[in-house]
Amino acid sequence: MKIQKLLDKLKDILSADRHAQLEKYKSLKKVLKSLRVEKKGLEKELSDTIDAEKQQEISSRLKIISMQRKKGLKLLRELKEDRKRNK
């Protein structure tokens, strides 16, 4: 098992395609993480605010972030499956 993992890592280093795929995977994960942090912050802001106009604005931003995350997570899954297939 450990050898398999080591071999995968070696493939990631030696194959340009796999390397690019891995970089894409990592950066997407990073962006999704920052969106999750932003989402949590906005949710807190929404619960704290009483201004209706502000609430509406935060809600629409939350809707957008949720949609972006949904799209990103789908892409992330696809990238993961690709990597599995290319092993």
């Binding site: 894409k24 997407l28 962006v31 809707k63 957008i64 972006q68 995350r69 799209k71 990103g72």
Partner: protein
Amino acid sequence: MMRAPENGCPSIPLLRRHIGQLWLQPMLRKTFLPAIFLLLAYGFAVSADFKTITAGVAIFLFGMLSLEEGFKTFTAGTLEKILKASTNSLLKSMTFGVVATSIMQSSSLVSVITISFLSAGLLELASGIGIIFGANLGTTTGAWLVAGFGLKVNLSAYAMPMLVFGIILVFQRAKSLKGAGYVLAGLGFLFLGIHYMKDGFDSFGQTIDLAEYTMTGYAGVVVFAGIGAAATVVMQSSHAMLVLILAALATHQISYENALALAIGSNVGTTVTAIIGSLGASADGKRLALAHLVFNVVTGLLAIVGIYELMVAVEWISARLGIAADNYTLQLAVFHSLFNLIGIVVMLPLLGLLVRFVEKLIVSEQVEIERPIYLSGASIEIRDAAVESVKKESIRLYDLAAGVIADGLSIQRDALETEEKLKHVLRKSTDVIDEDIDDLYERKLKALYGAIVEYVIQSRGGYAEGRMKEELNSLRQAGQHVIEAVKGVKHLRKNLTRSLRSDDSTVKKEYDRLRKLILKVLRDIDVVRTADVGSRSVLPFDRLKLDIEEKTRQFSEGLDMLIRKGSIDVHTATSLMNDISYCKETCWDLVEAGSVLFSESDPDEKDAIQSIALGEREIIEMMDNADEGAAR
């Protein structure tokens, strides 16, 4: 936010135009008119005869307007053909000026036609000046007609039937009959005006003797020439002024010598109105007005200096023509013709010099075509600099386009950069900004975008590959979105302008919503643009996209409601539907351009961020899901 300068340094003629428009015209408007009104009101309160005389002047001027209107009907065809055929030599031009002004009895109408021909490039400046020389001589026929005929005959007897027939013809549908009606009514009003002026001076002479204020010697000539010039500026017609002088002279209210000085002044004064009128005209129009001024000032100065010699000459000519020695009105007509003729004789050999002088003084305003400032042959050779140059130039294109869009929406450009509430901005922006958007698009944007495209193609064909090629392509695409956004506003502007000018508050409100949305999008893009680098990712633009979709959907629903209620007619509703669509496309184009031009992110994350940015289909899907959720 710093915007790139729209032009370089403004040219001197442009500055002159701005000074003229911003300073001179408002100054005149603010002080000149109220002063004249006060003076007239005082005159009306003091003297009933003054009222009759000024009413006579007013009716006379109205007659001139009507006459001009009538002649304009015929200018589109016959007069233009005659003008084209009769201005190919200086002599012909001058003859045309004399004949046309004699027939129309309005040198200003002849000047206007000449300026329009000059602007259209159908006439040389020298020929134009020739016409003006001739018009100066032609306008003296008015003095002959009034002095020889008008003051001896009861003109009102002719005026009444002319007015009746003229007005009946004005109500006819046929263009030629209508034009003839205006001419006839115009002549009727002219005669009626002369009659009132004469009547006024007749009874005025029985109460006050203006002759007491007669001044003799050169001081009198200069003072009365000044009065003549000022009065002509007020009346905007040397012809009316001349009739007034003749009427006053016939009733012995002014001395013969002072009447001559008034006529000289009037000749100079008439050019001041032409100069004010030419402030908004083309360079050639301004040159013509300046040449007119130079000619009349030189002629006036010659007449003032040699007034006593001219009086002797007039006496001699009058004796030869059989004019009685005490017939001062006809002698004034002789004097008027004589000094204008002398002016022509003196100035004709200097015509070439005059043309060069006015051309040197008034420089043609070059059509300013926006040129790229960041795209240089040097940067195209350096790979990193090429992308940066295209980006900077594209941002400049965006800024210029934002200004044109603001003009198109009739919103002051400052409103893009202030934090003033949108509803306040719209409340203030009720007047149409009279900019030629098509012209701005052609001169400012199209040429610049063309330069960007050319530069991108050149660098892409040469060395650009991989990421750099993609970046250049997306920048070119952003430029295309900017251009499309302006085109959208160009479509929208037609009905928007109509709504601003209409009294229909419902339609106005609907168009205000469209304006508000576009302005909001421009401002929101600026918010992202000026944010910290960390927050300038492409993702905030998705929120703008959602906003656009939500708002335009609300507009459409609101429109349906208005149609159902019958608050809006179907024709307007159809136009609004199209305009909502233009508004939406414009906003989307701006957002697409902004997301390329103003987003900044870590190069490693750029692809990932772009891969999760939402497209139009996803935004619509999201909204549909939200609607379904709300319905459940």
